[in-house]
């Protein structure tokens, strides 16, 4: 507990990490308070064809889209989709990847080789391609996007935890605990996991950013939730045919994505600096993504 306070204290002094927290808070608040913050909450499904493609004005803060709906309001509701995708996909990837990494790291049998090679398989193809394939196969929808993203992201956690676990095994305290005869489960849960927690936390934050970018790419390709869902990536795809005149239509959702991912990246960077400078080296091996 005191460790957490210590972390927060150090973090608070890092200005960019603080900025990251602010941005993330902004995203969460936009999503939670969307019905109240939005000027035209009905525009999530309402159409006003006579008002289409209007530039930003007092009535429509970020202008209107091709159906005349308010872009600003739709962006706020799109934040909900973004958070849901990010949290569930990364959460699921974590729940799958961490145990696999722990098992693979702890044991030195062919099982751990096999597990790592399985994760290699998933890493062999660019994540984006695999996610596209899965989303296309299952059909464009919100749950399928989440599934596709978690299935393609878990290897990052697995490899990270595997590398850290192996490194820890060389530490004296682990060797001695094992020598005493502690059960593997106890060993891993009580001694390995707390020490692996830091890199996991850092990767979670970075993973959120990365997952949101990939989710937006899927939405852009039409593989995300179908219309009239106000998903940010899809909105950018819609806006393309109206360039260069209605440029705000494409710029706004892209900026929203940018600020969101920036927030998670800055927070992740700050956490990394605070939690363990050693992580910098080990992440160079596990790779960034």
């Amino acid at each position: 507990m005191s460790g957490a306070l210590f972390v927060f204290g150090r973090l608070a002094r890092d200005r960019s990490a603080l900025l990251g927290l602010v941005l993330i808070l902004g995203l969460v608040l936009s999503a939670l308070l969307a019905p109240w913050l939005a000027t035209h909450p009905d525009d999530v499904f309402e159409l006003h064809p006579a008002k289409r493609l209007r530039p930003p004005s007092a009535e429509n803060l970020l202008g209107t889209d091709r159906m005349g709906s308010d872009i600003y309001s739709r962006l706020l509701f799109g934040a909900r989709t973004t958070i849901v995708i990010g949290v569930i996909a990364v959460g699921a990837a974590l729940l799958i990847g961490v145990p696999i990494g722990l098992v693979a790291g702890h044991y030195h049998t062919w099982v751990s080789d096999a597990l790592m090679r399985v994760s290699d398989i998933f890493l062999a193809v660019p994540q984006v391609v695999l996610a596209i394939a899965i989303a296309q196969t299952l059909g464009p929808s919100l749950p399928n996007v989440i599934l596709a993203l978690s299935v393609t992201y878990w290897p990052w956690f697995a490899r990270l935890v595997y590398a850290e676990t192996r490194a820890l095994q060389k530490e004296v305290f682990i060797e001695s605990t094992a020598a005493i005869g502690a059960s593997p489960f106890r060993l891993v849960a009580l001694h390995v996991l707390p020490n692996v927690a830091s890199p996991i936390i850092v990767r979670t934050s970075i993973g959120m950013g990365f997952t949101i970018l990939t989710a937006a790419a899927l939405g852009f390709l039409g593989l995300g939730p179908p219309p009239p869902a106000p998903e940010w990536g899809r909105t950018i795809a819609e806006a393309r045919e109206f360039l260069p005149d209605a440029w705000w239509y494409a710029a706004a959702p892209g900026l929203a994505i940018f600020l969101t991912v920036m927030g998670f990246n800055l927070l992740g960077d700050g956490l990394r600096d605070v939690l363990d400078p050693r992580i910098r080296r080990s992440y160079a091996e596990a790779g960034d993504g």
Partner: protein, 529 residues
């Protein structure tokens, strides 16, 4: 230490600067001298095959129109059938035998003469390959029934009298049978070879082809139709996928022509471009929602009427499409004969929609699937407008998109087809049968036009009568009666008839637009100056 850093940064900078300078110099070198009079067309789909019998669609019509000839050809608007390779034809009194007299001295590009044997071979080839227009001919002409009576007379024997045979005969593109026989492999009718080559007699000869890029063709001076005083020496048809790129390219002068069914916002930009002229013509291309008439609850006429009242026609046609299209309430284009002029069709009226739902025996208790085409944002917008109207009427819906070939495949069976699908039906031949006939005859189930899966014996009889008779008045009345029934039964939702807004370089003259062909027949066109 600082100097070392500056050194390497400077080195990197110099390398980049060198690249920039080189390209700047290169840019100042003028473009190489172009071949005398070139024309470049930006096409929205790609030319994945040069075989005129493998495709029947509007997207690749440039190949068929420019490299090949048919017995007759559709020209101008309203479309009229002109003798082309054939000088004339006669029909037997029972309507089963069509005999065509060919022009003499017509040459293929390799110098050999076009004979009746080539025409016979071409028809057999179409039927054998079973692609493109084969589905149309297969119902009328049996394999091995076509005869070359002599060197310049060819005879088609129909299996039953069909009024539209003449209308579709232009799709028999005549190929060089001797050349194809030379390149035949494993009895493939030369298909593998013809995918990337040509065996035609048309106004232009293929010189270069790449399925990922497009094709280039040069003028065939020996074409049987006399050339005007001015003409274009070399034509290039290129695939350029994005609307925006095609529009920008037209404005910059990179292309001298492109497809005329652009979104209204793009058309506006082209109108303002100084070196582009827009040719506006009423075309024949209906946009509609095909409703799956077999699947509950759409098999209840009241549900279908409710759907018809739920679409905001004016909002879509006037606002979203900026008035660039005409409301077309009946499944026959406004500008074609055969329409019952008194039928006004459905309007956007949510109250009426709810009233119809109340009368329905089947309740709508599940979301309806509204299918649209991936990559065609107008269909996406139409689907969104429909979903919005349905929601107001109390019906939930789910949007689903597929690529066109995938959607065609889904629409072949009532079990796999969505509850409703929005797309266009273009002019394959200028006859009401191209629309209402192929859309609502129960014998057409399984084709992409008949995804309404509509079955009404009375309508079938009327459509059969119209196909059999050659009397225009009889046919007209039959189509009008059939249209009245189909509209009353709300078998589909018919939105608009397209206007063609063709962007062409201002200096071009002689463009002849026809709803079949869309102006892409380049032999008439020339640069004025």
């Amino acid at each position: 230490m600082r100097r070392t850093w500056l050194r390497s940064v400077a080195m990197g900078g110099i390398v980049l600067a060198a690249l920039v300078v080189v390209s700047a110099l290169a840019l100042s070198v003028p473009a190489p001298a172009q071949a005398p009079t070139r024309f470049v067309f930006a096409n929205e789909s790609n030319y994945d095959t040069m075989d005129p019998h493998a495709a029947f669609d509007v997207g690749r019509v440039a190949v068929r129109l420019n490299l090949y000839d048919g017995l007759y050809r559709w020209l101008d608007n309203p479309p009229a059938l002109q003798p082309w390779l054939a000088e004339s034809h006669t029909v037997s009194p029972d309507g089963l035998t069509y005999t065509f007299k060919l022009r003499r001295g017509v040459k293929f590009h390799d110098g050999s003469e076009v004979t009746a044997e080539d025409v016979r071979y071409s028809m057999e080839r179409i039927l054998a390959l079973k692609k493109g227009a084969a589905s149309l001919f297969a119902t009328m002409v049996a394999p091995a029934s076509t005869k070359a009576l002599d060197r310049h007379t060819v005879q088609f024997t129909l299996s039953k009298p069909v009024a539209i045979f003449l209308a579709v005969v232009p799709e028999v593109h005549v190929v060089n049978s001797a050349l194809l026989k030379k390149h035949e492999k494993d009895s493939d009718w030369g298909a593998a070879w013809l995918t990337s080559n040509e065996a035609g007699s048309g106004s232009y000869m293929l010189t270069r082809y790449d399925p990922a890029i497009g094709f280039i063709a040069k003028r065939f001076p020996g074409h049987f139709m006399p050339w005007g005083a001015k003409y274009i020496d070399e034509i290039e048809f290129r695939m350029v996928k994005e609307d925006n790129t095609r529009v920008l390219g037209m404005i910059k002068g990179d292309y001298q022509g492109t497809g005329g069914y652009l979104p209204n916002d793009q058309v506006k930009r082209l109108r303002e471009a100084p070196n582009v002229k827009l040719i506006e013509q009423e075309s024949m291309r209906i946009m509609m929602f095909q409703i799956n008439n077999q699947r509950p609850p759409m098999n209840d006429v009241h549900v279908r009427r409710a759907i018809s009242y739920a679409f905001d026609y004016d909002g879509f046609n006037k606002e979203i499409l900026g008035g660039s299209v005409e409301r077309n309430p009946v499944p026959i284009p406004n500008n074609l004969w055969g329409i019952p002029k008194d039928v006004k069709g459905y309007t956007y009226d949510i109250e009426k929609a709810k009233a119809e739902l109340a009368k329905a025996k089947l309740k709508v208790d599940r979301p309806l699937t509204v299918g649209y085409l991936t990559g065609f944002s107008q269909t996406e917008q139409a689907a969104t407008v429909m979903a919005n109207g349905l929601r107001k009427a109390g019906i939930e819906s789910k949007l689903t998109s597929e690529l066109w070939p995938t959607m065609v495949e889904r629409m072949k069976k009532p079990e796999t087809s969505p509850d409703m699908v929005v797309y266009w039906i273009s002019t394959y031949y200028a006859d009401p049968n191209n629309w209402i006939g192929e859309m609502f005859h129960s014998g057409q189930w399984g084709t992409f036009k008949a995804s309404s899966f509509y079955k009404n014996v009375k309508v079938d009889d009327l459509l059969d009568l119209a196909l059999k008779s050659t009397d225009r008045k009889v046919r007209e009345k039959a189509y009008q009666d059939a249209a009245r029934i189909v509209v009353d039964e709300a078998a589909g939702v018919w939105i608009y008839n397209t206007k063609y807004f063709g962007p062409w370089a201002k200096s071009l003259e002689g463009i002849r637009f026809s709803p079949i062909g869309n102006g892409q027949e380049m032999r008439w066109v020339y640069y004025a100056q």
